[in-house]
Structures are given as structure tokens and as C-alpha cells.
Symmetry: C2
Subunit: 300 residues, 2 copies
């Protein structure tokens, strides 16, 4: 499974960055990095592109000995083991388009194993994808969620409704009482069936990414926009930063345990704005977006 998942995330990275480069007109910059304790990764980033203000698509496969904080976090997941040898591989992606009408999107699919290669004492899958627009286009939310549902349904029709709820719960800014975006799916510690079935879930979800997102991007990326709409987008990106730095467990875990900072913070938008006390005008498209964030709804 180590090799199978690692190969799959690298293939997905190639396919996705190839398609995104074509749309943007710029290439990704590739950085190979090594983890001092074992393994490494392949980071592809684009900044100041034609379509993307910032885009990052990373894969990694790391192994070694878990730090104390990671063991504590693992026990929190209900895995009671003294085993410290681990392996982890995954794909993570965040795209921040320039156009305020084109949504930010994030995905992450990962596989984790404890123990010796070929003889895991524990293993699990995690992952998800979610959409964060600055303006509410209901057809975009339905399209995105629809593709994720189809991918999940291919393995188990019980998955999507569960993962959708978990996503809304996870990407919640408690201090703002609003969601980060319009959700998607989120799962973690998944090990309740054969590894092949859960690999198939990750595989189908990764394949679903381009069809779930590109049609949305295509219809939004060249829409005209005003300075006021750009201002609103930058403020929404400020909220994205607030979520990732204050609440995102993966980010905080990474920063506190010495992971590669540039990879952990790749998710941050290139530009963000933090106004004091800004409230959109009642009835405006901005107010409509805010209302959608405060009351997550079903899209499919």
C-alpha cells in the first residue's frame, strides 16, 4: 500500500499540475526536499501566474520515528501502541485564483502506517476537498459537491453524507461563527474496511478533482470585477489565513513539531486583508456570501 498510494499521489500531481499549467499559461516551479529523519517530497508552486495568484500542489512520502507530540496526537485518535516507526504519503493542493469570482479550492489525500514496511501494526487513510468562494454561485457549489458525492458513492453511499458533515464541522471558524467556505468532504482515521477499498476512495476522489473544479474555474476566471470585489476577496482571504493559523490542526501540528514550514504554509493566499469591523451592506452579494457561510446547507 505504501508504494501503491505514493505512486498514485505522484500521478495525480502530474495530471493536475499539467492541466493547471495549460490553463494558466505559466509553469509550476518544482522543489525537491528531503526530510532529515527520512523521506522527502516534491513541491510544485506557482505565484503571480496568469489565472492563479498562488497555487501549490505537493506530494510527499516520509518515514522515520514519530516525535512525542505525534505519539500523543495518535493516542488521541484511539491508536494505543508504543510503535514509533511510521510512514506517511499524501497529496495536498491549494489554489487561489486571481479573479474574485473564481473560488479557492483545497484538497488533501493521505495514507499513514505504523510499524515496519510490509508489516504495519496500524494504518489509516485521511483526506478531503473543499471549496472557498468569495461570491456565492450556487451552481458552482452543486457542481463541486456533486462530483465528490459521485466519487464517494463509488465505494459506499454512506460516505458522502458523513464526510460532508465532518467537513462543515472541521472548517468552522469558531471565533467568527462562520465556515471557511462552502465545504466538501473530510475524513480521517479511516480504517473500518479493507485497505484496497479505502485506497479506491482516495483514488476516485483524486480523479474527481479536475472535473469537479475546472468547469467552475473556466466560467469564472475571466469575469469582469471591480476594486470593491477585489477588496472583499482579500478580506475573505484574511479569514482563510485566520482559519489556517488559528484552527487548522494539521497546520498547528506541523508548525509545532518542526515540519517543513514552507510546505505547511503553502496553503496561505499570496495576499490577504484584515479590516477592522467590516460588515457588508444588507442584501449585497457579499452579505449573501456571508449568510451562506454562517448556515452551511446541503448542495446535492
Amino acid at each position: 500500500m505504501r508504494e501503491q498510494m505514493h505512486q498514485r499521489v505522484k500521478d495525480a500531481q502530474d495530471e493536475i499540475t499539467g492541466a493547471l499549467s495549460t490553463i494558466d499559461g505559466h509553469n509550476f516551479e518544482e522543489i525537491h526536499w528531503e526530510r532529515p529523519g527520512g523521506g522527502g517530497g516534491r513541491t510544485r508552486v506557482m505565484e503571480d501566474g496568469g489565472v492563479f495568484e498562488k497555487a501549490g500542489v505537493n506530494t510527499s512520502a516520509v518515514h522515520g520515528v514519530l516525535p512525542d507530540a505525534a505519539v500523543a496526537s495518535m493516542r488521541g485518535k484511539g491508536i494505543d501502541s508504543d510503535e514509533r516507526r511510521f510512514f506517511a504519503t499524501g497529496l495536498s493542493l491549494v489554489l487561489h485564483p486571481r479573479n474574485p469570482h473564481a473560488p479557492t479550492v483545497h484538497l488533501n489525500y493521505r495514507y499513514f502506517e505504523l510499524g515496519e514496511a510490509g508489516k504495519p501494526v496500524a494504518w489509516w487513510f485521511g483526506g478531503g476537498a473543499d471549496l472557498t468562494p468569495s461570491y456565492l454561485y450556487e451552481e458552482d457549489a452543486r457542481h463541486f459537491h456533486g462530483h465528490l458525492k459521485t466519487a464517494c458513492d463509488g465505494v459506499d453511499p454512506a460516505f458522502y453524507p458523513d464526510f460532508k458533515k465532518r467537513c462543515d464541522a472541521y472548517f468552522w471558524l469558531k471565533h467568527r461563527e462562520e465556515a471557511r467556505g462552502l465545504g466538501g468532504i473530510f475524513y480521517d482515521d479511516l480504517r473500518d474496511r479493507e485497505p484496497e477499498a479505502l485506497f479506491s476512495l482516495a483514488d476516485r476522489c483524486m480523479s474527481a478533482f479536475l472535473p469537479s473544479y475546472l468547469p467552475i474555474l473556466e466560467r469564472r476566471k475571466d469575469m469582469p470585477f471591480t476594486d470593491a470585489q477585489r477588496d472583499w476577496q482579500l478580506q475573505r482571504r484574511g479569514r482563510y489565513v485566520e482559519f489556517n493559523l488559528v484552527w487548522d490542526r494539521g497546520t498547528l501540528f506541523g508548525l509545532r513539531t518542526g515540519a517543513r514550514v514552507e510546505s505547511v504554509l503553502m496553503s496561505l493566499p499570496l495576499n490577504a486583508r484584515f479590516r477592522a469591523d467590516f460588515a457588508p451592506a444588507p442584501g449585497s452579494p457579499e452579505a449573501e456570501m456571508q449568510a451562506a457561510l454562517r448556515a452551511p446547507r446541503d448542495w446535492v
Copy 2:
């Protein structure tokens, strides 16, 4: 002491916002807010001013019953009491000038009491001020630290060296292995002498603010700058956001215990930039600034 300190922070707010408005050419917007559990505050903010991109100067005096998280935090400070009635008053200020050569500055001076008015079972003072430039001007750092030292020395010459060290330790971004800025002073839980002496410390430090900062602002605010210098400033502001949202205990405590979000996050710059993997050219002014942040030094 409650009244004395509250009056002093309001006077300082008036004096400081008056001077800053004159320099900027724009007025602060004033917001009065009430805390549901008791007390309230007077927030003054300016955004998109002439000199200041964002400026906030807040005073508050709040009282009521401590939430559980605050009791836990208090016990962490070594105050072992079941008393939950509290009073707190303070002044906090963050200025983010437009010009990349003009430094960001922050200060906070506060007084805290447990128990009934007039019969405190415990009390303490906290505070500090620190300077965060994007470009290194050693004369500015010496000027700023010099005024803080003089203010502290007026009460006890042992204060400044201690508070300067605490400031460097507090404003440290562990995940970047660099300081937020060039430091200043920081103290907390101060109750090792008569309240009048510690009030005098806060009083002198508040009086020192304008002379410590305005001459620096005056000589930097109209300097010519390039797009590249603005880009660097925005990236340094990204680091300011990283510190405040990931490491600042006051911010995290506020966000997790339901303080007024807009006041807690007033410290964030209006605009911030997060580049992946940016390194300044060796020997450049940007590299010189970065080196100063990685190795805090003595300025007076």
C-alpha cells in the same frame, strides 16, 4: 487603583490619538462597545489613512466572572485562588504605517485585579512595547529602546534589562527561528512591590510612547520606496500575522474565550503577503533585516 489606571489609559489614548491624527491628516473612528458580562471599551481605529495603513488604539475596563479557561491560565501564573470576580483595564495600540521604511509599533499596558472592588485578593500589572521595522535602521532601534530604558529606569534600573530579555523571548516565531521585530520591553504578573510603584512604571512607559516613536515616524514616513520594498514590507507583515495568530498567547486566549474578536484582531496589518520560499539576496538590506531578526542584540 482601578479608577486610577482606567483614567490614565484613557488620558493616554486621547493624547496619542490626538498626536497621530495630526500627523496623519485623518481622524480615528471611535467605537464604544460593551462586554455582555460587565464593562466595555473605547476602540479607535484608522484604515487607509495618509500615513497609517492601519492604526488601532483601544482602552477597556471590564469586570465580571472569570471563565474556566481564564482561571486555568491564572493558576498557570501561580495565583492559587478560587476567586472568580475580576477587573481588568488597559491600553493597547498597534500602528502599521504605509511607508516600508517606517516601522510597525505595538504597545499594551494593563492592570488586573481579582476579588471585590477595593478589597482585591490578588492584583498584577503587565505591559510592554516593541518595534517591528521592515528595514533595519539602527538609529531607530537605539532611539526606541533608549526611551523605554529611561522610562523603566525611573522606577528601577533592574527593570529594562530584564524586560528587554523577556520581550525577545516572547516575540519569537519558533517555526521561523526569528523574532517578530527588534523588541522593546515586555512584563507580566508584576506584583513584587507596591501598586503605586508599578502604576508609576506603566505611567512612565505610556508617557514615553510618543517621544519614543514619533521622531522615527517623522524621518521615515515620506521616504521614497520601490515596489520591491513594498513587496518585502507586505511579506514582513505576513510574518506579523503568523506570530499573532500562531504564537501570541493574548490573541489565542481572546479568540478561544470569546473576547470581542475585532478588538483582539485589531493588531493585524491591513495587508499581508505570504510568498512560498522567498529568500532575500545575500548582502541586500532585506537580508540585513532578516539577520537582525535571527540574532536579537542589545540596542542601549
